[in-house]
């Protein structure tokens, strides 16, 4: 008997990477070709955002590198296209490809920071609501209910508008970025809070929590060290899908003219700028940032859909 147990234990991979490669999640990932493509595209976008400086032929934010001679060039496969402007240039002679890489960087930065902020807020409030219960729980969940009545984009727009009016005047790029992260975070926390609260309600009645209480651990330690790791699975799924939503929300706000300024454009800002040239025939100024945004969001959504199915055995 003991030998059998040892044999099973020996066949189990011990390192973290080994355990990951042995898991159901990895097996399901290898089975789904569409997910592999989507994950590859997502990683490619992230890598090009990180290495934007190395990959792009020019720095689109450096006016010294822009020449009006090069303005409104079509993409390279057109007869009038010129190297190194693969996807053409805009009115100021800015290379569209470089602008997309730098824009991607800002879109992803806002997306990740927004998700991180909303997840932190939502998880903390959900933990507190679920663990403490009573009036605290009721107040937090009522706020969540009210907020869930409204679409996230409306809340993001409102928060954005109000924060800007409180700060007043013209804001620089970095401040605008923080305002966007703040408004996106405030509009997406509800889902995390509800999910975490639900799981906490189940977890807190289990024996290990009773044991942790018995040895006298303070509530915050129990909440974050003991309960939190056990409710993180669904949070990961929500975070992936919300990354796509946060990127769309940022792009929408920038498109509406209340997001990133033209001096520090995200993909949404690039689309807004390009939209002005739609009628004069320069379709590439809006088309390529648009395609980049659509591909990025679609890829992240596909990965998120797969992750939801993979982490939830009930759906299989």
């Amino acid at each position: 008997m003991a030998e059998a147990i040892e044999a099973v234990q020996a066949s189990q991979p011990t390192t973290w990477a080994g355990r990951f490669l042995d898991s159901d999640v990895w097996a399901s990932f290898k089975r789904s070709r569409l997910t592999m493509v989507a994950a590859f595209v997502t990683l490619l976008f992230m890598a090009s955002a990180v290495f934007a400086g190395l990959l792009s032929p020019q720095d689109p934010f450096d006016p010294a590198q822009l020449e009006l001679m090069n303005s409104r060039l079509p993409p390279i496969w057109d007869a009038e296209g010129q190297m190194p402007f693969m996807l053409g240039t805009d009115e100021q002679g800015r290379d569209i490809f470089s602008a997309i890489l730098y824009g991607l960087r800002i879109s992803l930065a806002v997306g990740f920071l927004g998700v991180a902020f909303s997840a932190t807020l939502g998880i903390s409030l959900g933990l507190i609501a679920g663990y403490v219960g009573g009036t605290t729980d009721a107040i937090i969940m009522r706020i969540a209910d009210v907020q869930l009545t409204f679409p996230a984009i409306l809340i993001a727009l409102l928060v954005d508008g109000v924060v800007k009016s409180v700060l007043g005047g013209q804001l620089d790029g970095a401040t605008t970025l923080s305002v966007l992260v703040f408004s996106i975070g405030l509009s997406f926390w509800v889902q995390y809070a509800r999910t975490v609260r639900g799981s906490v309600m189940v977890e807190k009645n289990k024996d290990y929590i009773a044991a942790a209480r018995l040895i006298g651990l303070p509530a915050p330690v129990i909440m974050f060290r003991h309960v939190l790791p056990n409710v993180l699975g669904p949070v990961l799924v929500i975070a992936t899908i919300n990354l796509a939503l946060a990127i769309i929300t940022e792009a929408t706000l920038s498109f509406l003219g209340t997001g990133m300024p033209e001096t520090m454009p995200s993909l949404g800002t690039l689309i807004r700028i390009g939209n002005n040239y739609l009628f004069s025939g320069e379709w590439w100024i809006v088309a390529f940032p648009g395609i980049a945004l659509a591909l990025l969001v679609l890829a992240i959504n596909l990965v998120g859909d797969w992750l939801r199915d993979a982490l939830n055995p009930k759906l299989r």
Binding site: S165, A251, G257, N301
Partner: protein, 326 residues
């Protein structure tokens, strides 16, 4: 059931009060209302007088009560950028938004139900797979990209449809309508499709799932056994039973359609409330933002309440199951 309706009504009033507090806080504390009225070189004494005439030196709860009473009477103050009462501005633009939202909803429901029934009945056909792909794209693509794509196709390349505005409108009392002129109808097509696409995919998925479920039910087997035609089974028996949740979702989504009209109206420069709201956010026009928030909250709450009450009348089983997606 009576207690249920009362509880829901109280909740609705609670939501409205909460939104009222937020809206009042924005109005009162985000930017000083006095500064928006007087000019830069107005002496302090005169500012003080304006402050008192606006009632801004009263205790905050008194101001809040006054704000609520005025809001209930439709008085939301004066817009900073237009120097006109906000209620007039909103009333002028409401017909445009409502017409757009209603057309989008009709488009979404019509096509969503058709596509959903088809892909529910022939789930493995090529067309059904195509519908599934369209629905994935419809959910992934941001609204404004769809709008730009349509403009590029139908206005720039083909020149069939106008890319902005409402076309010619006809005035019926205080309501302006674009439904009675050819240019007005042409101008409606692309914005309605853009706005309705997301709802269409939602309804299509819902109808498909419901059809698949209903077709397995015993009464369908019985109808077949009775020798009814396939057509009668599918449309008289199956479809009818999928429509209750569809009507609910269409109702609940109508509020979202009005809110999402903000984006569509900006793309197509549609002169509705959403465009007014975006301009207000850009120019920090707090009274318009606060009033729009209150108005949208009212629409949402009324629709939710109406749907809740209809539930209990039509089908008590549905009372707690359907939730609105974020």
């Amino acid at each position: 059931m009576f207690a249920f309706i009362i509880r829901r009504a109280l909740q609705a009033i609670g939501v409205l009060l909460a939104v009222g507090i937020i809206s009042f806080a924005m109005f009162r504390f985000a930017g000083d209302p006095v500064n928006q009225i007087v000019s830069l070189d107005t002496p302090a004494a005169e500012r003080e007088q304006v402050r008192r005439s606006l009632g801004l030196d009263d205790p905050v709860p008194v101001q809040f009560a006054r704000y609520l009473v005025q809001a209930a009477q439709g008085n939301f103050g004066i817009s900073y950028q237009f120097r006109q009462p906000v209620s007039t501005l909103l009333a002028e633009r409401m017909p445009a938004t409502l017409e757009l939202a209603i057309c989008a909803t009709i488009f979404a429901t019509g096509f969503g139900v058709l596509m959903g029934v088809y892909s529910g009945l022939k789930r493995d056909s090529a067309l059904a797979k195509l519908f599934q792909t369209i629905s994935l794209i419809g959910i992934s693509l941001p609204t404004f990209l769809i709008g730009i794509l349509l403009i590029y196709l139908f206005s720039v390349t083909l020149g069939w449809l106008p890319s902005f505005g409402r076309g010619d409108t006809v005035r019926l009392g205080w309501w302006t309508t674009g439904l009675l002129t050819l240019s007005g109808l042409k101008a409606l097509i692309m914005p309605s499709v853009t706005l309705g696409l997301f709802q269409m995919t939602l309804i299509m998925r819902l109808v498909r799932a419901e059809m698949l479920e209903v077709l397995r039910a015993d009464y369908i087997k019985f109808a077949r056994a009775r020798g009814l035609t396939t057509r009668a089974v599918h449309f008289r028996h199956a479809l009818k039973n999928t429509l209750v949740p569809v009507i609910t979702v269409v109702g609940l989504q109508f509020g979202s359609v009005i809110a999402f009209a903000i984006i569509t109206e900006t793309v197509f420069q549609w002169p509705g409330m959403g465009l007014l709201f975006v301009q207000a956010v850009q120019n920090v026009d707090i009274p318009i933002m606060a009033a729009y928030l209150m108005l949208v909250a009212l629409i949402f709450v009324v629709i939710n309440l109406a749907v809740d009450i209809l539930y209990t009348i039509v089908d008590p089983r549905l009372r707690t199951t359907i939730r609105q997606p974020a």
